[in-house]
Symmetry: C2
Subunit: 226 residues, 2 copies
DNA sequence: CGGCTGATTGAATCAGATCAACTGCTGTGG
DNA sequence: CCACAGCAGTTGATCTGATTCAATCAGCCG
């Protein structure tokens, strides 16, 4: 059982390069958490006592409005960790988290982790780098939301996927409705944006398969700040 | 001169509680930077070699679109530090920064600071807390932008100011046009939003003086997710 | 074969951006 | 001391991208 935890923790990017001894001490305080697609892990405003790492499956972090609209902040897959913020502030979760698929997670309590950080400056630097990259991502997301229209945001998203998957034949990593929520819009508008890009000959879509026909054009569109 | 730097660094929140010796070693590598209102400190995309702390004056951090619209991400005043992100990633500044008033800043080079962090776990924890609180703020900003309309965002902003200033008679900390840019809109729309809140009897505005007449109502509006 | 969920399409509506004009204030120069 | 340039802010008229509401369609699982 502890062997499993050790293996699971070793697969988390944040803990790469951590000496075996420290990994063990993490394994002592970490807990496995299994959940099914659709399960809510925590909600915005709840006191944040643990942070999480994804061993397998996919989790979305989002904020919801009273009227039901949701804005996805990020989606995390195997090897990634999330909900670090309350660890360092000892306050509430700033957003909600829900499993998109059946997941195996490890949860790590705030307190023990902070102690480990005190002893391991390299891990601390890793955490700072992680938080920084997340800040950078949010800056980009804020700029997209306020400076660009939906087709432009979609173009940017597709280019990101293309870069991640390394070819022009992309598989959408999320259902379209979820992508809409990530782009700050709704499925109907997203659908029309796809149509628009298709009509302009920039992409070709069939189901969750997208072929990028004109990367240049896409990126031109994505940059175009209104 | 080094006395000055020491005093300046001592006034930065992030460095509170840092032992005198470490503060000295910071002072050795820190540089004063003076700038006039309107000066650009750095632009999004430039390689980020230093981060900054505000001794006096005010700085805005923002992203601009090609067409000229700007989205303010944050405004920093005396005692606050900014542009930490590239320190831990060694990449570019994710946004631009410009002095809103005449400023005295200290700039601290990436390299020396990282070394100090290795030796000072408490400082490292302080940095992580700072980055976390900034993440929390961005999460809120993203949610506001995508989930709420302009009058609601304005209501939220005013409540924030009210809390910060501790009374119902608020002084706007920025020119209205800048507030518009922070709220992700333009001066015209901002002006109409003010009018709307006034007509609803929630606030009373004259110049940069705002009186909050109905905090309850304001907060009801601010929460209302569309 | 239903029945569900996700996706698409169409029509109507709306919030916010845009464009243009005007106000009022401040500071500068004749 | 007054005139006027210049900028921030306001107001009105119009336009447009996005949401809303409603209906339909496609795929998938029981």
């Amino acid at each position: 059982m502890d062997k499993d935890k050790l293996a699971a923790l070793g697969g988390i990017k944040l803990f790469e390069g951590l000496p075996q001894a420290q990994l063990k001490s993490l394994a002592d305080i970490a807990l496995f958490k299994r959940c099914k697609a659709g399960d809510t892990l925590f909600e915005a405003g709840q006191p944040g006592t643990h942070f999480f790492a994804v061993v397998s499956g996919k989790v979305r972090v989002y904020r919801a409005s009273l009227s039901g609209k949701e804005q996805i902040l990020s989606v995390f897959g195997a090897g990634e960790s999330f909900a670090e913020v309350p660890v360092f502030e000892g306050k509430t979760y700033p957003a909600s988290a829900q499993a998109l698929e059946d997941c195996l997670l490890v949860s790590i309590p705030r307190k023990g982790f902070v102690e480990l950080l005190r002893r391991e400056p390299e891990l601390a630097l890793g955490v700072m780098a992680l938080l920084s990259s997340r800040l950078r991502a949010f800056v980009g997301q804020i700029a997209q939301l306020s400076l660009k229209e939906v087709p432009e945001r979609l173009a940017g998203y597709l280019l990101l996927l293309r870069a991640a998957q390394g070819r022009d034949e992309i598989t959408l990593d999320l259902p379209k409705g979820q992508i809409a929520s990530y782009l700050g819009t709704i499925p109907e508008t997203m659908s029309r944006a796809i149509k628009k890009l298709s009509e302009q000959g920039l992409i070709e879509v069939s189901g969750s398969q997208v072929r990028v026909l004109d990367p240049e054009g896409l990126s031109l569109l994505a940059e175009s700040g209104r």
